[in-house]
Symmetry: C2
């Protein structure tokens, strides 16, 4: 199940409402969604992949993946991941209640598809055999304050070597706390990549998220697949992440600790890190000085460690460092990389001024 409903305004102005983050061609001219589709295909046959997304995105996602309309679950409203995942669980449970499914956010960067597939197979085995809700626990590489953390607990048992119970979840710690986690070990980033049995997830929703469980009632009835049932369910559903609604409360949650390289590409800074901004590249090129060019052409003079998202125009940088420069048809963004999360405020300002066409 690919979750592809995100807006991703932190990568504005490259990402827009009409061109969300997962459609951006960030690496090697491939969109994040296309890369996610490839990862999904490595762990599931084509006829076993589902996409959950919004109305605006459905058509482009169909084109990108070639999936039939019946496999694209179009949300009538945005209700965060708990509802998206619960809806998919109901649809899958109709075909096979004990089916194990994986949840893959469409806008993450996971360069090593092979490692990803190996990890997911182990997670799926644990989900199938032990009925666990399994979340990937990515080893932190920096004290990031934008991610949720998992504290690993005791080993899951001999049948599932490496897997661990989860002691607790911590959402976006402050910098001092994040540094402590990194130094102490035993903490992992919660990547939002999961594997579980449909029936187990629905049981745990019933147990720990009663409000959501009640909202799902129309999806359990005989007319579950009708548009009216779906709309009724979404109207009543709380808007919650699945982590908060279920995982933080359930005692069936395991984590698979992994060294998988992973980023949610939430800000220009995290994208810059993934692309190697700051590390010297090709000699005699702008990359020699730690610059990286996603698209367009860069001329650099005494400029280092910048990320350039160019368009038709040449981008000339002189004497500047640690910037993201993003050129689009109607907006140019120049941001200090470390301040990239403030880009949201520009988006808010534009919306407040009635300039939604720019957001």
């Amino acid at each position: 199940v690919i979750l592809a409903g995100g807006a991703g305004e932190r990568l504005w102005p490259a990402s827009r409402r009409a061109r969300p983050k997962q459609l951006l061609e960030v690496v090697d001219g491939q969109s994040l969604l296309a890369a996610t589709w490839q990862r999904a295909r490595r762990i599931a046959g084509k006829d076993r992949v589902w996409i959950v997304c919004g109305r605006e995105q459905a058509a482009s996602h169909r084109r990108e993946t070639g999936l039939p309309a019946s496999r694209i679950l179009v949300e009538p409203a945005r209700r965060n991941t708990a509802m998206a995942v619960a809806w998919a669980a109901h649809r899958i449970a109709r075909e096979d209640p004990e089916a194990v499914f994986a949840v893959l956010p469409a806008d993450h960067l996971v360069p090593d598809v092979g490692q990803f597939a190996r990890d997911m197979r182990r997670a799926a085995d644990a989900a199938r055999e032990a009925g666990a809700l399994v979340t990937l626990g990515v080893r932190p590489t920096r004290p990031d304050t934008g991610y949720g953390y998992i504290q690993l607990g005791r080993a899951a048992g001999r049948a599932h070597p490496g897997l661990r119970h989860v002691r607790r979840f911590v959402e976006k710690p402050d910098l001092a706390t994040a540094r402590r986690y990194l130094a102490r070990g035993g903490y992992r980033w919660n990547a939002g990549i999961f594997a579980w049995r449909a029936d187990v997830l629905l049981e745990e929703i019933a147990r720990h998220a009663p409000e959501l469980h009640r909202a799902l009632a129309p999806l359990r009835g005989p007319k579950a697949k009708t548009r009216a049932a779906v709309e009724r369910a979404f109207r009543r559903a709380p808007s919650l992440p699945i982590d908060v609604a279920v995982l933080e409360r359930s005692d069936r949650v395991w984590s698979l600790p992994t060294d998988l390289a992973w980023s949610d590409v939430g800000t220009w800074a995290s994208l810059a890190e993934e692309l190697g901004v700051g590390t010297p590249g090709g000699k005699g090129s702008p990359e020699e000085h730690g610059n990286r060019v996603i698209s367009g052409e860069l001329l650099a003079e005494g400029a280092s460690n910048n990320l350039v998202w160019g368009g038709e125009r040449i981008v000339a940088l002189v004497g500047v460092e640690d910037l993201a420069v993003v050129d689009t048809e109607d907006v140019i963004l120049v941001t200090k990389l470390e301040r990239g999360s403030d880009v949201r405020r520009i988006v808010a300002t534009l919306n407040a001024r009635g300039l939604r066409r720019l957001t």
Copy 2:
């Protein structure tokens, strides 16, 4: 005599070969040339203004000023200011050898036209009555290493109060020297704004710049006004600034010290200073944080002391300081203001790559 032949590649990419600095609308939507034309008109009748420029610029300069073609001296080649001024001196001397003329570079910023006119009248009086070569000596406001300096000498005499002999010229001192000049006083910026009699200038050229004098021979003959004579003269003329060719050597040079606000707008940094970048402006606007917008629209979030030359696109700045951001149809420049003189190297790179259409 307005000198309007400059290329001004330091304000690239706003300035181009086909759109030199003097045509840029830098302040209040008025081009530097148009402002220079207004200054010239304050000190001379319309039929007494000349423009010296290159072939590419002649048509637009005629449109801008309404001057007849006979008053626009089109240089067959670029030979720096000594030749430009000497040619004008010959043309003026044919009408009136003792005529006093002023030399006004077309790409400088002189906001106070009234003060300018008063200064020029005093300079012209000294030139007319004492036969002096008079240069404006602008009081330095910072230890600029891009300007030439004048060391003031003894007073010129009771008939011309305030005017001073020039002890010596210093071209572009290093920072320590420039600081010393500023602290010690008695030093002025050589603004490249002059007043002198045509005959006196030509005498001093004959005395101190023999090579230039010989090259000028065709302009003294009976066919002086023909294209062939002009081309012959330019072919043989050395490429020298008038300061170096004559003023540094002549003992008839006076300076009029003045507090006139003046900038040669040679770099994005000097333009930024003239426009008040770094000083808080309108409350609640991006200018509050010391940003200045020449054109286009700026959205700023934690961004201060930046100069924006925008186009059609909105420019969004987040967490950046002391930048010039210049958006044009085919190039975007982002430069640290203090590194603005390195912009020339980008221009050189583009020319070397055969991308002259961008320079």
